[in-house]
């Protein structure tokens, strides 16, 4: 074998035509190879982009049929991140389910937890018993999460068209949100913090000051994005008119979230079917009227301002609710979520051990049953959709009356919205495919689950 021959990049004949393996800087070889064929290959080229292409938002495979640089047909191949989370949840207790579903759409963990937990609470019929403080904390965390998720969307979307500064400042701000998450929940991602009946813990001391400081800082920094992008001629030239999908197309393909709102239709589940007390917060639904990638960018940018408004209101309420409970009063539901850790950081608190081992045999029985087996949820099914950063996220939760979910299915907006990739990019240039996908903002962890 000569040293000029590339081991990996080469061509081979298959039943479907000539296949080239492209590894960069070998365009001449492909052009020469195509020239040989003379027939069909001159006009029609099928390009496989991904599943690990840096501009595909995770492990997404795109199959593009090209005519020159124009895409004539576009399809997605998904499933590379399928981890069987829904199947696993059927083998864990209702409380443990939150630790699984939080990992699905890893950019919006609180939304995954919230929709699942709201479904479980509806089946338990304790929706009205959730303490106010737990609901306010859920709203606070979800809105912080919306900001961090939109920041990643804008950051990676900018990076994919070469706007690296947008990426660096986007991740800079996201880091601040993750620091807040770490302060409140102990973890930067995969929190499993929202539990059936409330939330896992109270706010730590000093959290409200940190949150207020973050809001003040974001109010200074969000205008930087507007200054960098909003009127930037290159940014606009890449985004305007790209990935166009009108209201009719959105409804037919079931698209929700910023993509739907970029058509000018103010559909937001926080307003139309409020949950967690969203009806008591003052905020506006952000829309744009261009139905394109630029409109979706502006919707996301404006939504971050609205989220800041909600966070401020939530922080004010939390200041008033100091010392209030964050978990439902029914101990049988609350207990599995509140396994307090002793002062040495290991095992159960000594007070609890003393109580169950020395004082009350009933308490020991309850501890044993609820911790090993979990609580039972009445038979039935529930679906409580919420407005995630990407659209309608809902968990179809089915119980057979047992201590484990009989079925938990997540209607993930990324999964549904990615179907529009073909409609948005067919007929456009190959570089616009990337922009169109970035404007859908799919997270493959949520798509494949």
């Amino acid at each position: 074998m000569s040293t000029t021959e590339d081991l990996y990049a080469g061509s081979s004949e298959t039943t479907d035509g000539k296949v080239f393996t492209v590894s960069g800087q070998d365009w001449d070889e492909i052009a020469a190879g195509l020239g040989d064929d003379g027939g069909d290959a001159q006009e029609r080229v099928v390009v496989n982009m991904g599943p690990q292409h840096p501009s595909t938002h995770g492990v997404l495979r795109l199959i593009l049929e090209l005519e020159g640089e124009t895409v004539t047909e576009a399809r997605c191949g998904i499933g590379y991140l399928h981890t069987g989370i829904e199947k696993n949840m059927e083998y864990r207790s209702w409380v443990q389910g939150t630790t699984f579903c939080t990992r699905m759409d890893y950019l919006s963990p609180f939304f995954n937890e919230a929709t699942y937990v709201l479904g479980v609470e509806r089946l338990l019929d304790i929706e009205d018993d959730i303490p106010e403080k737990a609901q306010v904390m859920r709203v606070l965390l979800m809105e912080l999460n919306r900001i961090s998720s939109h920041l990643v969307c804008i950051a990676t979307g900018g990076m994919e068209i070469g706007a690296l500064t947008v990426m660096t400042i986007g991740f800079r701000e996201r880091e601040l949100v993750l620091d807040l998450f770490e302060l409140i929940t102990g973890l930067r991602m995969n929190h499993a913090f929202i539990r059936p009946g409330g939330v896992a813990q109270d706010l730590p001391p000093g959290a409200l000051e940190e949150i207020r400081g973050f809001v003040a800082l974001m109010k200074k920094r969000l205008p930087e994005y507007a200054a960098l992008c909003n009127a930037n001629p290159i940014f606009k030239a890449r985004l305007e008119g790209v990935g166009h999908l009108d209201l009719e197309g959105c409804l037919a393909l079931g698209l929700t979230g910023p993509v739907l709102r970029s058509t000018g239709y103010p559909w937001d589940l926080r307003k139309t079917s409020p949950y967690c007390g969203y009806e008591t917060y003052d905020f506006d639904v952000q829309t744009w009227d261009t139905s394109d990638s630029y409109g979706r960018f502006r919707v996301r940018l404006n939504e971050m301002w609205e989220s800041l408004k909600i966070i401020e209101q939530a922080a004010d309420r939390l200041a008033r609710l100091e010392g209030e409970p964050v978990m439902v009063a029914d101990k049988k539901i609350a207990w599995p979520s509140q396994l307090a850790i002793g002062s040495d950081g290991m095992g159960n608190s000594l007070d609890h051990i003393r109580h169950i081992m020395g004082e009350s045999m009933e308490a020991l029985i309850h501890h044993f049953k609820l911790v090993t087996e979990g609580f039972r949820v009445p038979a039935g099914q529930a679906y409580v959709p919420i407005e995630s950063p990407r659209g309608e996220l809902g968990a179809h939760v089915v119980s057979d009356g047992g201590t484990r979910p009989f079925r938990a299915h997540f209607r993930d907006p990324s999964f549904n919205n990615l179907q529009a990739m073909g409609v948005m990019s067919e007929g456009s240039m190959i570089a616009d495919v990337i922009v169109a996908i970035a404007s859908i903002d799919p997270v493959m962890g949520g798509v494949d689950r």
């Binding site: 029985i365 959709p385 179809h396 079925r407 549904n416």
Partner: protein, 253 residues
């Protein structure tokens, strides 16, 4: 929860109460107000879809509690009778002859529809001005292995943005003949959702343009979300090599 109460006061096994039901779901007395042919539909009756045995997961001589012999039926919320209240009646009127059973539980309405009526119902749901369910949020499968003759359920969620209403439509098919019509022609949004339900449950949506696996590899045998499919324990093949399931890889004894 309820079991702990029972633990204080043992009851004979035969008097195990059915799972909790909301008051509006108590079935009507037989033969009242329901036409005979409707009452005869199999889905009208409260059906037991399974059985739960024991309490502590212990069987045989290890069971010192005596509760291991408990047998409780698994019963889902029963059919609701008219009037359903509010806009539920409007939607039910619009769909009327196509509905097998209506269940209202925890404020959510579920229409059980036979596979043969699904296409007509979906068309009505989308086009009828009184209904106008513009958006189908998707479909997912549920497997009830003990629900004989209706083992596989396909559950749709429809949303009317005009009227701000949400309904659930449930279609059940037997495991032996898991065919139901595809809604792709009416709601293109369900394309991938139907492929996922096929992949995970083996539900066959007739008329789908390309009903192929979507999450699992194309050549994967079986449908992983079915109840008879194990969690783990499946050997994985990669580029000709086979990796045994974790519990069979190596013996440490």
């Amino acid at each position: 929860m309820t079991d702990d109460k029972k633990a204080d006061q043992p009851q004979p096994a035969v008097e195990q109460p059915a799972v909790e039901q909301s008051p509006e779901n108590v079935p009507a007395p037989t033969g009242e107000a329901v036409p005979e042919e409707v009452a005869q539909r199999p889905s009208r009756r409260v059906r037991q879809v399974g059985e739960r045995q024991g309490m502590f997961g212990v069987k045989g001589t290890g069971d010192t509690s005596g509760y291991g012999g408990l047998v409780a039926p698994v019963v889902y919320p029963a059919a609701t009778q008219r009037p359903y209240g509010g806009w539920f009646d409007t939607v039910a009127d619009g769909l009327d002859p196509l509905i097998d059973m209506v269940v209202i539980h925890r404020g959510e309405i579920t229409f059980h529809i036979a596979p043969g009526n699904l296409l007509a119902a979906a068309k009505l749901l989308r086009d009828e001005p009184d209904l106008r369910f513009e958006l189908c949020a998707g479909v997912n499968g549920v497997n009830y292995p003990d629900d004989t003759g209706r083992e596989l359920h396909a559950v749709y969620s429809f949303l009317s943005m005009t009227h701000n209403r949400r309904i659930r439509v449930e279609v059940s098919v037997p495991d032996a003949d898991p065919h139901l019509p595809s809604l792709c022609g009416i709601y293109p949004a369900v394309d991938w959702h139907e492929r996922e339900a096929f992949d995970m449950y083996g539900l066959i949506f007739d008329g789908h343009p390309a009903l192929t696996r979507i999450l699992m590899p194309d050549d994967w045998p079986g449908h992983p979300q079915r109840k008879d499919y194990p969690l783990g324990g499946i050997p994985v093949e990669y580029k000709g090599g086979t990796i045994a399931p974790p519990d069979q890889r190596r013996s440490y004894s």
